[in-house]
Symmetry: C2
Subunit: 419 residues, 2 copies
C-alpha cells in the first residue's frame, strides 16, 4: 500500500482543470507530478490552480509521452476531448500506469476491444471516471436495489438531458478558435454521444458484467432542427452556423436489452430548450420504483399511492454508507460530491494496488454505445449486437474491488475514513 | 341537420355501461333506442341505468344484427372487448350507420385495411372514441401547438402507465368466469396493447394524416415477471396464475418515426407497481416543452428555468376553447370531461351529417400499432413499416370536420353551445 502517489495529468480544458482544481490538487495523498496539454496557456492555468489549491507547482509538458516515460508516475488521468482518449489510455497501460479516462464514447468498436486486450495483456487497470456512479441519488438507489427493496428489476431509464447550445456548443464561439470540442461531433455524427452519466449507474444497478450483460441496442434519432434555429436567432439567418447541416438528431432514444431480460432506455437530449437538467434516472422493479423527474421513490404496499417529492425521506433512511460518510465529512469537489468520490475511488485503487471499481470491461461496455447507436440509427433502429467484452466471464465475475468504493456490493466499511 | 338521433349500443361491460351512464343516456338529443350484449344480466343493468339517467327504457337484443337491421337507428356505438370490434364496425358501416368504436388495437393489419376500404366504399364515417384526445391537458397542448408556442415539434412521449393487476386483470377473478377480457391478451400476446390514449392526442399534435404520417416503428419489450410475482403473492406460489407463462412483457417501449422527422415514444406500463397513473404526455419543440409527470410547461426565454408544477397558470391562459366552455357549463361525464366531449363530438357529427373529427384514417392508423409492435418485438425491435392508409392523401388532407370538436385546428366557435 502506497502512502502517496504521483499522477500525470493529461488534458487541461474546462473539465480537466475543474477536476484538477476541485479534486486531485487538494488530495494530501496525491502529488500531481506533471501536467500536460497542447496549449501552453492552459498549462499555465493548470500550474496556477495546483499552486493555489495544493500549495505546489507541478512539472509540465506539451507531450504526454514525457508523462508515460516517467518511472515515478504511478497513475495517469486523461481528460482530453472525446476523440483520441482511448489511444492514449492504451499507451498509458502499456507503460504500466494505472489509467483513468474522462467519460465519453469510443469512435470505433475496435478501440474498445483494444482497450480490453491491453488490460488483459498488461494487467494494468483502467477506469472511466464516471462521476455519476457516485451521485447521491444513484448510490441510494444502488443501496436499495442491493437490499432487494425494489424486487426483481425489469426496466431502467436514464438520460443526458442538458441544454448545451449556450453552455457548451456555442459558448465563446466568437472568441475561441477552434470552437468547443463537442461541436464538430454534432456536425458530423448522429448517435447517442453521451450515454455514460446514466448508463454507468444503471449498469451497476443491473449487475452488468457481473451476472448480466448488455446484449443489443436499438437507437432512433429525431430530425435535427434545433441548432439551426438557435444559430439563426443568435448569429443571423444567413450565418455559417444557421445554414450548415448538423448530422446529430435533436433527441436520440436508445433501448438496450440485457441478458436477464431487462431493458434500459437512454435519452440524449442536449439541443432543444428544456425546463431543467435531468439524468432521468428511473428504476422499475416488481416491488417498487423510483423516478428522478418526480423526485419519487415508491415501495408497493408501503409508500402511499400518488406520492411525489418524497425522495428526502428515502435519503434519510437509505443513503449509501459512502455518502453518509461524505456528508459527515463536509462537502468537497464539484457536483455534490460525486467528482470527489470517483477520483478517490481511483486513487484508493492505485494506493492499494487493486483493480478499479469501474474496470476495463465496464469502461469498454460503456464506451461502445456511441458507435453502436450510430450504426443502429443508420439502419432505422435495427437491433445491433453489443459485444461481450468479458468473453463469457460476465456470468460469474466477482466485484473488481472490495470496500467502500465498490459499486457492485454495499459495504459498511468504517475501518478507514474516506481519505 | 337532425334534432335528435337514435343510437344502437353494443357491449355493456364495465366501460360500456360507464359511457352509457355518464354520457349517452343523459344527452337530450340522443335516444338510446336499442342496447345489446350477449349477457342478459348486463342488458338488465343497461336498461336500468338508462331509465335512471335518461328516464326511459331502451329496447334490447343479444344479437347486434337486430340493431344493424333497424332503419331508424342512425348510429352504432361498439363497446365490446378488444377483439372482434372491427368486424362489427365494418358490418355497421355497410349497414349505413355512423359507427363509433371504443379504443383498442386491431389483431391484424388486414382488419385496419378493411375498415378503411369499407369507409371509402360506403362513405360512412367511423370514429374511435379516443377520449384522451379531448382531455384538458391534451387540448391545452394542442391549442398551444397550433399557435406555434412550442416552435417546430421534434419529439413527443406518451404512455399508458396504469397498474392493472388489482384494477382490471385479476379483479373479481374469484367470482367472475371468464376473467376480465384483457387477461387472455396478456397471456397470449406481447405487444403495445393500449397505445391510443397517448397516441391519439399526439397524432393530432403532429398533424398525422394531415401533412404528416407515421412511417415506421420499433418496439422492444422487457421480460415478463410481474404477473407471476403478483399472482404468487395473491393466489399462492403453486396457483394457476402464478405458474403460467405470460407472453406480455412488463414494459414495452415503442418508438414511432414520422414522415416529417419527429419521433414518438410510447410506453406500455401496466403490470409493475407504480406510484401514480400517467399518460406521460410530453411535447418537445424548438421553442418549448411540456411534461405531464412534472406538471410543467416551459417556453424558452419566457418561463423561468428549473420551473415545475406550473401547469395551472398555462391552463388559465391557454385552455382550449372547448374546455373553457365545458368548465363553464359544469362538469359532466367521467374522466374530467373527456368522455362527455368525445361522445358529443360523435353525436354532433351524426346530427350534422359530417365526417368525424377522428376519422377512418386516424382510427386505422391508431388501431394498427398493436399488431405492428408485436411484429417488431418478435424481431428484436427491428423497424416495421406503418402503412399509409390514406394512400398518399395525407400530404394535403383538410380537417375532416370544422367547428369546436375539430382536433386539427382550433376554433373559437361560440355560435352554438356544447349541447
Amino acid at each position: 500500500m502506497k502512502e502517496k502517489i504521483n499522477i500525470g495529468y493529461i488534458g487541461l480544458g474546462r473539465r480537466g482543470r475543474g477536476m484538477l482544481k476541485a479534486c486531485f490538487s487538494q488530495m494530501k495523498d496525491v502529488n500531481v507530478k506533471t501536467i500536460c496539454d497542447v496549449s501552453e496557456e492552459r498549462i499555465e492555468m493548470g500550474k496556477q490552480l495546483v499552486l493555489e489549491k495544493g500549495g505546489y507547482t507541478p512539472a509540465s509538458t506539451t507531450d504526454y509521452h514525457v508523462i508515460l516515460a516517467d518511472p515515478e508516475i504511478d497513475a495517469v488521468v486523461i481528460m482530453t476531448g472525446w476523440s483520441g482518449r482511448i489511444a492514449i489510455a492504451k499507451e498509458s497501460m502499456l507503460a504500466g500506469k494505472y489509467t483513468a479516462i474522462e467519460v465519453g464514447c469510443a469512435d470505433t468498436l475496435d478501440e474498445c476491444f483494444e482497450l480490453v486486450e491491453t488490460y488483459e495483456k498488461t494487467g494494468v487497470p483502467v477506469m472511466m471516471l464516471e462521476n455519476c456512479c457516485y451521485g447521491r441519488r444513484e448510490m441510494m438507489l444502488l443501496n436499495m436495489i442491493k437490499q432487494g427493496l425494489f424486487g426483481e428489476l425489469v426496466h431502467c431509464t436514464g438520460g443526458y438531458q442538458h441544454y448545451l447550445p449556450d453552455e457548451d456548443l456555442f459558448k465563446n464561439i466568437d472568441t475561441e478558435d477552434p470552437p468547443h470540442y463537442r461541436l464538430p461531433h454534432y456536425i458530423k455524427e448522429n448517435r447517442e454521444n453521451y450515454p455514460t452519466h446514466e448508463l454507468g449507474p444503471i449498469s451497476k444497478f443491473l449487475s452488468i458484467n457481473r451476472g448480466n450483460r448488455m446484449v443489443r441496442l436499438n437507437s432512433i434519432a429525431t430530425k435535427s432542427v434545433a441548432l439551426n434555429e438557435y444559430s439563426a436567432q443568435r448569429f443571423g439567418a444567413d450565418s455559417k452556423y444557421a445554414t450548415m447541416e448538423y448530422a446529430q438528431g435533436d433527441i436520440v432514444n436508445t433501448i438496450i436489452t440485457c441478458a436477464n431480460g431487462e431493458t434500459i432506455l437512454l435519452t440524449l437530449d442536449t439541443t432543444l430548450p428544456r425546463s431543467h437538467y435531468s439524468r432521468n434516472i428511473s428504476v422499475r422493479g416488481t416491488k417498487g420504483m423510483s423516478m428522478e423527474d418526480r423526485r419519487v421513490v415508491y415501495l408497493h404496499g408501503i409508500t402511499p399511492e400518488k406520492t411525489q417529492d418524497n425522495e428526502a425521506e428515502f435519503f434519510e433512511k437509505y443513503d449509501h454508507p459512502l455518502h453518509r460518510e461524505y456528508e459527515a465529512m463536509g462537502t468537497r469537489g464539484g457536483h455534490g460530491g460525486m467528482d470527489w468520490l470517483v477520483c478517490r475511488a481511483f486513487v484508493e485503487s492505485v494506493k492499494n494496488g487493486t483493480d478499479t471499481p469501474i474496470d476495463a470491461y465496464d469502461t469498454a461496455a460503456w464506451l461502445c454505445i456511441g458507435c453502436l447507436s450510430a450504426e443502429s440509427i443508420r439502419q432505422n433502429g435495427a437491433p445491433v449486437d453489443i459485444p461481450d467484452f468479458t468473453n463469457g466471464k460476465w456470468k460469474d465475475r466477482e466485484p473488481a474491488v472490495k470496500g467502500k468504493y465498490c459499486l457492485d456490493e454495499i459495504f459498511e466499511d468504517l475501518s478507514t475514513p474516506i481519505f
